[in-house]
């Protein structure tokens, strides 16, 4: 548990494994955990903007999801992100939605 904020250590999620820097030795191309999280936030935001939401890293420990109306929520990993995003956006976050696919293809 973090002594400062009282957040319990989180369980590893499958998306945290098999990163390019997993395994032993230095990561290829200097890939680091910090860099991976920035990459994750950047990519997720390209999808989330379709729903009027933004994601930010919070101390390398979890993520903060925010809506345009100022609502915010903490999520621990990607699987936990989507149910929260659906509640905030008030609609389904579906990667098979043709409108979302078209928006992602236009990026």
């Amino acid at each position: 548990m973090c002594g400062l904020c009282g957040v319990f250590g989180t369980e590893a999620h499958w998306t945290d494994a098999a990163r390019p820097d997993s395994g032993s030795g230095a990561p290829p191309g200097g890939w680091t955990r910090r860099r991976e999280r920035l990459h994750r936030v950047g990519l997720a935001n390209k999808v989330l903007k379709h729903y009027g939401l933004t994601l930010a890293d919070w101390n390398g420990n979890c993520f903060v999801l925010r809506s345009r109306t100022g609502r915010s929520a903490i999520v621990q990993h990607l699987a936990a992100l989507w149910p929260v995003a659906e509640r905030m956006a008030g609609r389904r976050c579906d990667p098979l939605d043709p409108a979302l696919i078209a928006a992602v293809e236009r990026e």
Binding site: A12, W14, T15, A17, A18, R19, P20, S22, G23, P27, P28, G29, W31, R35, E36, L38, H39, R40, G42, L43, A44, K46, V47, L78, A79, L81, W82, P83, E86, R92, C93, D94, P95, L96, P98, L100, I101, V104, E105, E107
Partner: protein, 347 residues
């Protein structure tokens, strides 16, 4: 603790009267399964005479998400914890494998979820192969009428066709075809024709280094043979026709992060209908393939293989779905992956 050091748990499932207990009864005579503990959900007509046999009453705790596959089986948690505690205290033999025989109507997904998510169990046990028995005499009817039966075949790693000696040739062949269409990645065994040995059913699960590469080669063959959904989806009205398998390829190496965003989003929206996903991924920055393996909302920890099982590289995923369109899944994954390629790899 490395995954290979955890105690493997195999689920033996199958519809009512499909021969689960008979199969177990035979398997447990092999010396390599002498140190196997068995949990049964129902005491059937065929008795199991085994030293480490326990009975559990089915109790399911549905978590607040309300998702059926992510339900914790409280009965199993208590029974497996108790077994493990006795094993560690030396009051029962030190078993090195656990087999759970489900009820005929059981959904294997909550059992898998329990093993992967329960805070104590997941540190001592790992999910091994799911073995599904299908009765050749009644199996076709069960698949058409009972969604439970379809799901049991769809999530199987191994299918055992029983009573093929009692079924007509055409009847057995129709069932083989139905099982291959529902789950092309699962090898089919017929004990009435060739006696089964435990290795054939239990070796090569995702955490078993001895057979992972061979298992991956099998998926790739299955991916090539998967029935195009356009053909299978044309028939409606029976449960087995709503479920079909197909493979998806990606035109360039996958960005792991983009794939994680895409798959978590897909399983969040359609996890109930993604009965199974298995794949071998070519990931940007990783020289060897990454194997991925999921059942509904549950994804096993990915495994890095030490090499490609065939000369043919590239990402291939096998999906077993209920009424989801292959083309849209493929287009969506490609779009998410290109998002990463275009984008913001922080320099």
């Amino acid at each position: 603790m490395a995954a290979a050091d955890l105690i493997p748990v195999n689920i033996v499932t199958g519809f009512l009267g499909s021969g689960k207990t008979t199969l177990l009864q035979r398997l447990l005579t092999f010396p390599e399964l002498a140190n196997t503990a068995v949990l049964v959900n129902e005491l059937g007509e065929v008795g199991l005479d085994h030293l480490l046999l326990r009975h559990v009453d089915e109790t399911t705790v549905v978590l607040p998400s309300g998702c059926v596959c992510c339900a914790l089986r409280a009965d199993l948690t208590a029974a497996i914890r108790d077994l493990y505690s006795k094993r560690e205290r030396g009051t029962i033999p030190r078993f090195d494998r656990l087999i759970i025989e489900t009820t005929g109507f059981a959904d294997p997904a909550p059992i898998i979820f329990t093993l992967m998510a329960e805070p104590v169990l997941r540190h001592h046990f790992r999910v091994g192969h799911v073995v599904t028995t299908v009765d050749a005499v009644n199996g076709t009817r069960h698949l058409a009428q009972h969604p439970e039966s379809v799901k049991q075949v769809a999530v199987a790693d191994r299918v055992v066709l029983t009573k093929t000696d009692l079924a007509g040739r055409a009847q057995a062949e129709a069932l083989r075809t139905a099982c291959r269409r529902l789950n092309p990645a699962a090898p089919i065994f017929e004990p009435a024709v060739h006696p089964i040995e435990p290795d054939q059913l239990f070796t090569g699960d995702p955490a078993d280094p001895s057979g992972t590469r061979e298992e991956a080669r099998r998926w790739l063959e299955a991916a090539a043979a998967a029935t195009p959904p356009e053909m299978a989806a044309g028939h409606v009205g029976s449960h087995d026709r709503d479920v079909y398998a197909f493979s998806v390829t990606v035109d360039r190496a996958l960005d792991w992060t983009a794939f994680g965003i895409w798959l978590t989003m897909l399983l969040g929206a359609h996890g109930e209908d993604v009965l199974r996903v298995k794949g071998l991924l070519e990931v940007v920055g990783v020289p060897t393939p990454v194997a991925i393996h999921g059942v509904q909302h549950l994804v096993h920890p990915p495994v890095h293989l030490d090499g490609w099982p065939t000369a043919d590289r590239g990402t291939r995923l096998v999906f077993i779905v209920r009424k989801l369109p292959r083309q849209v899944i493929e287009r969506s994954l490609a779009a998410f992956n290109r998002l990463a390629a275009l984008g913001e790899r922080v320099a």
